[in-house]
Symmetry: C2
Subunit: 432 residues, 2 copies
């Protein structure tokens, strides 16, 4: 096979630990943990003062306790810095996400009588939620839509956004506009691990929240893991990934285009193809080689593809499915014969079917969430949804008659578990 | 007010940090974390050898790699050590839980066309799950039902139970019988933090799992938090709690019985009453004083009540609701006028309505789960359910026509977020 941009493996040559993406550098992790702990502790003990100090250090911004929060004037002003088309596009995304999330919430409540005992399950919104919106290289209004709007649809009464400020002490206007459109209650100019600390433990200016969601750097992710002893988080998050499962009928040009689009996210972003067709693998390599060179941001794309991109050529489609599921990608595109049926067996955060469903569609226009489990976590985690901003509460009401019917069984079980006073509490209902 | 067993507060005297249960002893937590990390690392590096060593050290059991797993003979033998009534009671509990969980899973899948884009959400079982079942003071077959059975109903293909062995190298027969009845695939004689390490990272004998659930000691809980960087867990868990919200019409004798039943769980178990009625508060104190002395396990009950029990007398029912929600108890019993309506405003892991719905009912016979969020986590977490053993996956399929319709909006959004190759991937669908 001709040498190309990405590494090509035949499935039988794959190292046995190929899919262990969590090959953690223990030393680096310990250092990161220690650094983040220092930041968390400083925010815990010094509050706003620490946030102001970190904003100066990391964002080169001069803030005060009074300017940590984006003011109504700043939000109004943000609208003057964005185009009408951008506002309309954010509104479009809002509408798409709303339709899908509302469908997801329909029929989620259950009320039933099980042998005389009324058991009801209701979903209730979490009281307050914090959404982390990364800053830095670009503006991510879509992250606001995918986190804060979804919390709004769930009925969360208090929604907070934290996003790093620029050197002028401002949050990106697109983030402010998206926050306004999505009904965010408070926007703070705080980034990194210090934002997670403020959301978890509160400061003089920022009241703590019950759950923290949203993507971020490795500092943000480590901070989320560390505060998860005290406050709920969505999921551990790592670099974005697309895996494409394709057979000989797929279009190599489209596969290459989707891999390139993934690669522009950052140098550690994974773009990969698993296929039983050696011919397709070669065609994708050829297309990558040709297309990446002329792509916008070519240097970044080429660097990312050559470091993290890969193609695996399998002996047949069954083996391709097996390896796809071992990888458990964040995004999985299926471009193969009978893709819908194949998808029933596949493991991924989000599954995109057919030639006209690229990741760029699901990132912006399908209404599904783009906050998804990465790094193999799709094996056990789900993409963010309105349900993640709610608590599932069971409500039980039993009649005296129904309680009498189950009394004898409860006696056996409480005796078994050495909890005699549990049975006495039942008995008390039948004594005077 | 006459002095009684538990501390009584008038609401206006409550210290402002009364509800901050996470008043963590930083030094003790750091020590615990360091100890647990040592155990996790030893299991990671030494595998079975470490498990055998810890079983000897903590459980006084002589095990080998060959006897770490409960054998089919041991499971068969376990049935000879339990009564017919116990087996029937476990079967009863299995039936109750099954009915409720199956109702919960009905209607959870969504398939819809949103402006030509097919979006489907399906629930799929996690591939493998580990259930921790505590040992020690008593046997907890109900924990097997509440974790492993629920995983089974979700369709999890591989279900593992870890529970500490006794000094004879055996897992409690009731735990083995319950595991057999609930369809558990593997039972290992491993307890404590080392069990969590084995489930998370695997050893020669124990293959790792994708999610770890179940209650445990502070070592188990710390281990779960630490491994949550690498594997999914259910929730942080602390001492069990019951809070009773009652008005002047409630029966003080039943309230006292329920508080005593809670107190027998352990010395750090919280049993509490919040009420607007000073008269009821006094009656409950009187009943506690009288009933606790003659209760089975009286010493433990009295110790627990006097250390962790409390009563708060509020000015009115609205304040009682407010304080109840600040506490966000694991179990909340509502014995008040119009309890059903009141429950709509209440925050708790599980809500029990009326005089005939004590915690002992929900622990064993209502079919609801007794693995519930404690320590105020009910603000953001839900009780364990079949849904927690599943991944929510979205599947998207777009037609060329539908993609063409959303193209322009995607262009604005990808330009906004500086991801030009994302738009190029869309455009590629319309070029040859």
């Amino acid at each position: 096979m001709q040498k190309g941009l990405v590494k090509v493996w035949e499935s039988k040559q794959l190292p046995s630990d190929w899919f262990k993406r969590q090959q953690v550098d223990q030393k680096a992790t310990a250092d990161l943990e220690a650094n983040v702990k220092t930041i968390l502790n400083q925010v815990k003990t010094e509050g706003d003062k620490a946030l102001i100090e970190f904003a100066q250090k990391f964002d080169k911004a001069q803030l005060t306790a009074a300017t940590l929060k984006a003011s109504p004037e700043e939000i109004k002003d943000a609208y003057t810095q964005v185009t009408k088309e951008q506002v309309a596009a954010i509104e479009f995304m809002k509408q798409r996400v709303s339709v899908f999330q509302k469908q997801l919430l329909a029929n989620t409540e259950v009320k039933a009588f099980n042998e005389g005992i009324m058991v009801q399950t209701v979903l209730r919104p979490i009281e307050s939620v914090g959404c982390y919106v990364p800053g830095g290289q670009a503006a991510y209004p879509s992250t606001v839509v995918m986190t804060a709007l979804v919390a709004k649809i769930a009925g969360v009464p208090r929604i907070v956004v934290c996003s790093p400020s620029d050197a002028a002490g401002k949050v990106n206007p697109l983030v402010l506009v998206a926050s306004d459109i999505c009904g965010v209650d408070e926007v703070y100019k705080v980034g990194g691990a210090q934002a997670i600390a403020a959301l978890a433990y509160g400061t003089e200016t920022i009241a703590p929240v019950r759950k923290i969601v949203g993507p971020g750097s490795k500092y943000v992710t480590m901070a989320k893991v560390l505060v998860s002893q005290d406050v709920a988080i969505d999921m551990p998050a790592g670099p974005s990934e697309v895996l494409i499962l394709a057979d000989q009928y797929a279009d190599a040009r489209l596969i290459a285009a989707d891999m390139i689009s993934q690669a522009e996210h950052g140098t550690d972003s994974v773009a990969a193809l698993i296929t039983p067709s050696a011919k397709l693998a070669q065609e994708v390599q050829d297309n990558l080689f040709k297309m990446a060179a002329s792509a916008p941001r070519a240097e970044k794309v080429v660097d990312s593809l050559s470091k993290y991109g890969f193609i695996i050529v399998c002996t047949d489609i069954d083996e391709a499915v097996k390896l796809t599921n071992q990888f458990a990608a964040e995004h999985l595109e299926v471009m193969a014969n009978d893709a819908q049926k194949l998808s029933e067996k596949l493991v991924a955060g989000l599954i995109l079917i057919g030639p006209n469903s690229p990741v760029a569609l699901s990132d912006y226009a399908s209404g599904t969430n783009h906050v998804l489990p990465t790094g193999g976590f799709a094996q056990a985690f789900s993409g963010l949804s309105a349900i993640d901003f709610m608590r599932r509460v069971s409500i039980v009401e039993c009649s005296r008659e129904a309680l009498e019917k189950v009394k004898a069984q409860i006696k056996v079980l409480t005796d078994t578990e050495n909890l005699p006073n549990h049975y006495r509490a039942i008995e008390a209902r039948f004594q005077k």
